[in-house]
């Protein structure tokens, strides 16, 4: 699916990724996120060669944050418990988990909904919970698969502000698959995956590049 892809992201950089359906965007994110392995080649993040690791659990726990296309929250858990998930994996003390999760839930505009069931939330609210979960362990790298898709304009704007703030404050690097002009407008560069090959889009094209869902 991916062939000869070479990608370098600078620390703190915000890069957008576009391409036709089935072009390998999600696969590329999964490989960089340690969820999938390439048949050949290497992936190095912050000096760590992922391909040399049998199971990059610690990498997923400490270095990377994921925002999935469909939010992938745990339906049996409350908003607070979903956001705390990465911190539970990292054995962070309960009091600290609660503090960090609450701070992000508040930033996501969901203060007072900590104990709410996911069934009580709208699609946009769930996506904000997913973003809070992706940021709660303060990752160096955020991988987002269409984080603003299916969100109304105001909610999308709020989500972008949360992401932008995290990037600005902690120098987090971001790679986001997107067709959303608002998000594309905030990226520092845009890449396109076509037939398994990666190319950089010129800056003017970036803001007008649409694509299939």
């Amino acid at each position: 699916m991916l062939d000869g892809v070479s990608l370098h992201l600078d620390p703190g950089e915000f890069v957008g990724l576009t391409g036709s359906s089935g072009s390998g965007k999600s696969t590329l994110l999964n490989i960089i996120g340690g969820l999938d392995r390439p048949d050949s080649g290497s992936v190095t993040v912050n000096g760590l060669d992922l391909t040399a690791l049998r199971r990059p659990v610690a990498y997923r726990r400490e270095v990377v944050g994921f925002v999935f296309q469909s939010h992938h929250l745990l339906p049996t858990l409350s908003v607070q418990q979903n956001v705390e998930l990465p911190l539970v994996a990292a054995h962070v003390h309960r009091r600290e988990r609660v503090r960090r999760a609450r701070a992000l839930i508040e930033k996501a505009g969901l203060a007072g909904r900590e104990r709410a069931d996911l069934a009580e939330l709208s699609g946009g609210e769930r996506q904000r919970v997913a973003i809070a979960r992706a940021l709660v362990h303060e990752p160096l790298l955020l991988l987002a698969d269409e984080p603003t898709a299916a969100l109304d304009e105001a909610t999308a704007e709020r989500v972008l502000e949360i992401l932008e703030e995290a990037r600005r404050e902690r120098g987090m690097t971001m790679l986001a698959v997107t067709y959303d002009p608002a998000l594309i407008g905030r990226t520092q560069r845009m890449l396109r995956l076509q037939d398994g090959a990666l190319s950089e889009l010129p800056a003017p094209a970036a803001s007008t590049s649409g694509g299939p869902r």
Binding site: R60, F66, H72, L85, A89
Partner: protein, 367 residues
């Protein structure tokens, strides 16, 4: 992690309860069986203590102590053994009372220590032929009092008194003279057992070994545990109970494994998300195992209750309450709880391992 497990169970109560019921049935079976087995041991122990003797002597290698046949004259020889203070033969008559087949009739020597130690609540001892004294339990059941007539193996006996000894067998049974009992069995020289009173300060186990050495055809029983082991039927019951315990364990574990495996398949997306956000294999496995254990603890709680109630219902349904009173002791409850926990752990192992083998990327992509 514990709150996460409890939250998951709380939000899926029907599945948790149904899974717990699988464990509950296994634990209830075990508790009921162990309770009844312990009750049987206690009942067997009553045989040893007939007439408040220190040791009961029975024929070796019989299927059941009640099937033992000994020469009644052996009692006289035993009295000459230095460690033995007294010995008296007892003939047991099983199913001799048509009004209550579970009651046992004892034939004892009127001058033997068994007859002499009876404490009477009404009337007095049976001293002559065709006289009978009954335990207060049997008297209450059959509404008997001194002067009543009791038929034993189609022979009429006049009731002389009602006694209480505190030994289940005796209080639920009746006592006639040894000669009458031997007449009913048609074996005028035989007895079922010989009850032995040891001399003061004599060590029981040492005396038992000395008697068995001196009289090779005898088995000396001094404790309920020895009584339960003495008869082949008792051993058979213990072994059958063990087999059923193991079967309950296996069936319970398979039931939990099946439920947990279905749960893992159903929730594979959740486990993939957990792996994606940094949960390690052991952490994911821990969640599945903890859920299995939590369900089993719930099931064990229900099972303990069902077992305690069920064992009593079972004994009543079989009509053997005169012989057996289930003993639901702390150790029986603890064993039931341990079996429940074992079911949870063993049953959760394979599903837990499966949960750790889920590849996150394809699962999250819905493949």
């Amino acid at each position: 992690m514990i709150s996460l497990v409890l939250e998951t169970l709380r939000r899926r109560p029907a599945r948790a309860l149904l899974s717990a019921l699988g464990t509950a049935v296994g634990v209830a079976t075990i508790v009921a069986l162990l309770g009844v087995t312990d009750g049987l041991k206690q009942t067997a122990g009553g045989l040893v203590r007939l007439g408040a003797g220190d040791i009961g002597l029975f024929q070796k290698n019989v299927s059941d102590p009640s099937a033992s046949v000994l020469p009644a004259g052996l009692a006289a020889r035993l009295k000459r053994v230095p460690d033995i203070a007294d010995a008296t033969p007892i003939q047991l008559l099983i199913e001799a009372l048509p009004q209550n087949p579970a009651a046992v009739v004892f034939g004892v020597e009127p001058r033997g220590f068994v007859a002499q130690r009876l404490v009477f609540l009404q009337g007095g001892p049976a001293r002559r032929a065709r006289e009978v004294a009954v335990g207060d339990g049997l008297a209450g059941q059959l509404k008997l009092r001194p002067g009543s007539t009791l038929r034993i193996s189609r022979r009429a006996f006049r009731l002389t008194g009602v006694y209480h000894t505190g030994i289940l067998f005796e209080d639920q049974g009746a006592i006639v003279s040894l000669a009458d009992a031997q007449g009913i069995t048609g074996r005028p020289q035989d007895a079922t057992t010989i009850s032995v009173q040891l001399g003061e300060g004599v060590h029981r186990r040492t005396a038992e070994q000395a008697i068995e050495r001196r009289f090779p055809g005898l088995t000396a029983i001094g404790t309920p545990e020895e009584a339960a082991r003495a008869g082949a039927n008792g051993t058979l019951i213990s072994k059958a109970a063990l087999v059923i315990v193991v079967l309950a364990l296996i069936i319970g574990a398979i039931s939990v494994a099946n439920t947990m495996l279905l749960s893992v398949v159903e929730r594979r997306g959740e486990f993939a998300v957990m792996a994606a956000v940094g949960w390690s294999g052991p952490q994911v496995a821990g969640v599945v195992l903890a859920e299995g254990v939590a369900i089993s603890v719930l099931g064990a709680g229900i099972g303990l209750l069902l077992g305690a109630v069920g064992s009593r219902l079972l004994v009543h349904a079989l009509g053997v309450q005169a012989f057996v009173t289930p003993v639901i002791s702390a150790s029986v409850l603890l064993e039931g709880l341990l079996v429940g926990l074992t079911i949870g752990i063993v049953g959760g192992l394979y599903p837990a391992w499966r949960a750790t083998r889920l590849p996150p990327a394809p699962v999250l992509a819905g493949r």
